[in-house]
């Protein structure tokens, strides 16, 4: 076979998905591929799509693991709805993912995996490679397993070891198709397998074999070029939402000079924050992996009392377990960041799938009148900024703050422009100074109603706080009816007054009009893309995406008054929409909800927007 010169297709953006069995190494393959896209200057967003079981039975639909990359020469806001290219390593992964392929998409298929047994396990009555079911697609059938073994013939490996790197063969084919240099991948192998150069070598050989194979087959008619994106100058990296969250907390700890304490318990999809923070002892981070969710938050409350920037990380079921302790932090008026990486619920629900269904729990899920700050990140990279702000607001206002992210943001990744510490906003917690007179724990700043943070060890500031209601100012235990009313009012008002320091809500588009679409949290990318598409079609539409939820930005009510129709879109049964209705009762607030454990598709949003615009 001879190599041929192929035409180059320029594309603004491309969605690629790697799918295979749980043990096929799809996450690693996808990760290497997205890093090479990043090195080539593309903007990108990635999302891993895997089952909660570690190794479900081989070759079954339940065991399918995938990794999706959306890369482009323009700003990328989502991980992409439908795929341009799918690399599929077995029948089950083809079956589970064909619905995500665009008509005409390129399917790279390892034909060696399509034996009778695997087809049967995937539930195929006939082999899709032989019937006409894939006619709508550009199918590149390749004996990937066999070719991988052949390329490693000189290494004298056993069958199992030799076929393990077949994912790298497929990756090599993609490097050819996308006209990417192999060097960054080589560098990655050298780094990852520092202690075992033979493994690094094997991966390189297979990757190159895949690249050369793609160059020789006629099925590949053209190569795809995605030009570099125009990004702001700076130092970039590819970062997941969970790592960004951890870094945001670390940055706030350093800025506030309080030092970080994390008390946490592993739970999908939040565990990576705990793992990441455990790595950074050199920055002074103290991490306690507690015996349960309750011990996690309670140790954080103890550390907060002792003067640390304390946090706990969890997901929905864990937030339920922490409810009582959040109440203690509200009552003792101690700073505390609670990160909830939301997943599908109720109960154990859909551990690896994403949802926005903990908003009610964050706002209302405690006994008593128990207000907290609630803010939400909207992209994997801005998890850094909102984690930082959660810590800043919590410490400066002496009240717990719940940061809502979700599995989609947490597991997903985006490009992150590294900030400089000097450019982040200052954090000034109200630390009590040593005093000679009797310290009064609930004496407050008249403007913010914030009490002072008196840290054990400070002379003259000995005081007791706890879950029992206290007299304002003195902090003595009190059951006085009027004092209780006063303290309830103060705790609510203290949180409400945070609206004085958070930014006003921005609107993308005109401030007046027929339709305002509203969203919050992890749906920003899909919503923004849908709004942009509507505008391309000449429609007038405005968009408000909320990051600050409790309290709401001060101008929220005013914004809502200026539109004929308001449509609130959420991945839950309608929680933010009811929160808005409760705060700003007006009849023209509509809702669009989806609770399937998957993100919004852009076309389902635009369909809904159009429908509402057409209705009189």
């Amino acid at each position: 076979m001879t190599k041929m010169k192929r035409p180059v297709q320029d594309r603004e953006s491309v969605v690629v998905k790697f799918v295979g069995d749980s043990g096929d190494g799809m996450q690693l393959t996808g990760g290497i591929f997205s890093n090479s896209a990043a090195f080539a200057g593309n903007d990108l967003a990635t999302f891993p799509d895997f089952p909660s079981e570690i190794r479900a039975p081989q070759n079954t639909i339940a065991g399918v693991s995938g990794f999706q990359v959306h890369m482009g020469s323009a700003k990328i806001f989502t991980t992409g709805d439908l795929c341009d290219v799918i690399v599929t390593m077995n029948p089950a992964s083809l079956k589970a993912n064909l619905k995500w392929a665009k008509v005409g998409a390129t399917l790279i298929i390892d034909t060696d995996a399509f034996d009778e047994k695997s087809l049967e396990k995937a539930g195929y009555a006939s082999n899709p490679l032989d019937d006409n079911s894939l006619d709508k697609y550009n199918v590149i059938k390749s004996p990937i397993t066999l070719l991988t073994k052949e390329s490693l013939a000189d290494f004298g490996l056993d069958q199992k070891t030799a076929t393990r790197s077949k994912n790298m063969f497929a990756l090599g084919m993609l490097y050819f198709i996308f006209n990417r240099p192999l060097k960054p991948a080589y560098k990655f192998f050298d780094n990852k397998f520092k202690k075992n150069p033979t493994i690094a070598k094997i991966n390189k050989v297979v990757l190159e074999a895949g690249f050369n194979y793609a160059d020789t087959i006629e099925a590949i008619e053209s190569v795809i070029q995605v030009s570099p994106a125009k990004l702001e100058p700076g130092l970039y990296r590819n970062i997941t939402g969970n790592v960004a969250t951890a870094w945001g907390l670390l940055a706030a700890a350093e800025k506030s000079k309080r030092g970080l304490f994390l008390g946490s318990y592993p739970i999908t999809p939040a565990t990576e924050i705990l793992m990441e923070l455990a790595r950074h002892k050199s920055l002074g981070a103290k991490v306690v992996q507690a015996e349960d969710e309750i011990a996690g938050i309670c140790s954080a409350i103890g550390a907060s009392y002792a003067g640390k920037m304390a946090c706990t990380t969890t997901s929905g079921p864990g937030l339920s377990l922490k409810s009582e302790a959040i109440g203690l932090a509200v009552m003792t008026e101690l700073p505390l960041v609670i990160v909830d990486v939301q997943r599908g619920g109720p109960s154990t629900g859909l551990p690896t799938k994403s949802e926005q269904s903990d908003l009610y729990q964050a706002l209302f899920g405690r006994n008593g009148e128990c207000p907290v700050l609630v803010i939400a990140a909207s992209s994997s990279d801005n998890c850094f900024y909102y984690a930082y702000m959660a810590a800043k607001l919590s410490m400066e206002h002496m009240t717990p703050c719940i940061l809502l992210t979700d599995g989609y943001l947490g597991f997903g990744s985006a490009l992150f422009r590294d900030p400089k510490m000097a450019n982040l906003p200052p954090i000034n917690p109200p630390i009590a100074k040593a005093c000679k007179t009797q310290f009064q724990p609930y004496k407050r700043d008249p403007e913010t109603l914030v009490r002072q943070w008196a840290i054990p060890g400070t002379e003259g500031c000995r005081h007791r706080i706890g879950g029992l209601e206290k007299e304002n100012v003195t902090g003595s235990v009190s059951t006085d009816p009027l004092n209780h009313q006063l303290m309830v009012n103060i705790r609510a008002e203290k949180v409400a007054r945070v609206a004085n320091v958070i930014p006003e809500q921005e609107i993308d588009g005109p401030a007046k009009g027929d339709l305002l679409v509203v969203s919050w949290g992890g749906t920003y990318g899909a919503m923004h893309s849908a709004v942009q598409q509507m505008r391309k079609e000449g429609k007038k539409i405005s968009h408000a995406h909320f990051h600050y939820i409790s309290p709401l930005p001060k101008n929220t009510g005013k914004i809502l008054q200026n539109f004929k129709k308001i449509l609130v879109c959420e991945l839950n049964g309608g929680q933010f929409v009811n929160y808005l209705r409760m705060n700003f009762p007006q009849p023209n607030i509509y809702q669009f909800n989806k609770v399937q454990g998957v993100p919004f598709m852009i076309n389902e949003l635009t369909d809904k927007f159009n429908q509402l615009m057409e209705e009189k």
């Binding site: 990296r237 002892k281 409350i301 103890g302 550390a303 510490m421 000995r462 007791r464």
Partner: protein, 346 residues
């Protein structure tokens, strides 16, 4: 009493009981055993030599857990069962504090049972005063995890059908490094145990047999009461033979793998046959047996039963941070933000 060696800041002046008296009204029932425990704490704290601002008391929920309000130190009155994790957070956050946990049999063995075993397993340097009155007092008389089998309480009108915990056995099972048992009617024993607990690096559990005068009055009477003390109470002291009874005539002898009660001068038994108490023995085997003993066949053992040296969790946290600070190139956030796989866009 001897000197305490640790990193807790010292007071420049000699403190006294007045330095720790709080302005809050003590609201325990008259005759409650908790009053005596409070008196013992007020006697011990000034003697430890720490700065008064470096004490922190943490409690959960229950009668015992009102304790922090009654001592003038830093303090947190927490939520039910969670005193130990809260205290863990305080101690790990600032190892230069002397952290005391006040809890009860319901608080730390029922709702907080999970935290109890894990805190002990980690060996966090905390001093735990566990008021064992064998009843739920604040909720008015329901049975607890230490209520004896068959006892009639408000939730066991026909007698309990649950096997009670022996706290010492539980502590040893969780790999505890310090366990003492004291009665609430002996302030000297209480203060001695509290001082030893403060001196011990690690989780020190002091089980205080405390009397609830309202809902389980005289629950411990058959052991610590005037009439039964001689027969049923045995106080151990390190390096001394384990003797008890009137005029210390009885003792414990190790026979094979069992302990037996023997009488000096009977069947040729001399003082040399009696087991000598070694509370520092890392092997908890004999400590476990001592903790388990009780009437009718044996006396109940009091005093510091175990005080073995093992690294503490909070020290290990500091050590790991220190060594990482020395070897890691990432000394501050700006270093982390510029580390790893990055690329520059001009």
């Amino acid at each position: 009493m001897d000197i305490i060696n640790n990193t807790i800041d010292r007071s420049a002046i000699q403190l006294s009981k007045i330095d720790f008296e709080s302005d809050q009204m003590v609201k325990w029932c008259p005759g409650c055993g908790a009053h005596a425990i409070l008196a013992a704490v007020e006697r011990v704290f000034p003697k430890l030599g720490y700065k008064k601002e470096n004490f922190c008391l943490v409690s959960g929920i229950g009668c015992s857990s009102r304790f922090p309000y009654y001592v003038n130190t830093y303090g947190i009155h927490g939520i039910h069962g969670r005193a130990l994790p809260i205290a863990t957070g305080v101690k790990v956050a600032n190892p230069h504090l002397s952290v005391w946990v006040v809890t009860g049999d319901g608080d730390s063995l029922a709702i907080g049972g999970n935290h109890f075993i894990h805190t002990i397993r980690r060996n966090v340097d905390l001093n735990v005063l566990l008021f064992n009155n064998e009843i739920y007092g604040l909720t008015k008389g329901q049975y607890s995890p230490t209520t004896p089998m068959n006892k009639v309480t408000k939730t066991s009108p026909h007698g309990t059908i649950e096997h009670p915990f022996n706290i010492g056995e539980l502590v040893m099972g969780a790999q505890g490094t310090f366990f003492a048992r004291v009665p609430d009617n002996d302030i000297t024993l209480m203060t001695e145990a509290m001082f030893e607990a403060a001196k011990h690096d690690g989780t020190s559990i002091i089980e205080i047999l405390q009397n609830c005068i309202i809902f389980a009055d005289k629950a411990h009477q058959n052991i610590i009461g005037k009439e039964s003390r001689d027969a049923n109470m045995c106080v151990v002291r390190n390096g001394e033979p384990i003797l008890f009874g009137k005029d210390n005539k009885k003792g414990l002898r190790l026979q094979g793998t069992e302990l037996e009660v023997v009488e000096l001068g009977v069947n040729g038994v001399t003082i040399d046959d009696i087991l000598v108490h070694d509370r520092y023995n890392p092997n908890p085997w004999i400590h476990t047996m001592l903790a388990k003993l009780g009437p009718p066949l044996y006396p109940r053992v009091f005093g510091v039963i175990r005080s073995a040296m093992f690294p503490t969790y909070d020290d290990l946290v500091e050590d790991k941070i220190q060594s990482e600070k020395e070897i890691s190139p990432i000394k501050k956030m700006d270093h982390l933000l510029r580390s790893g796989e990055t690329w520059e866009i001009m």
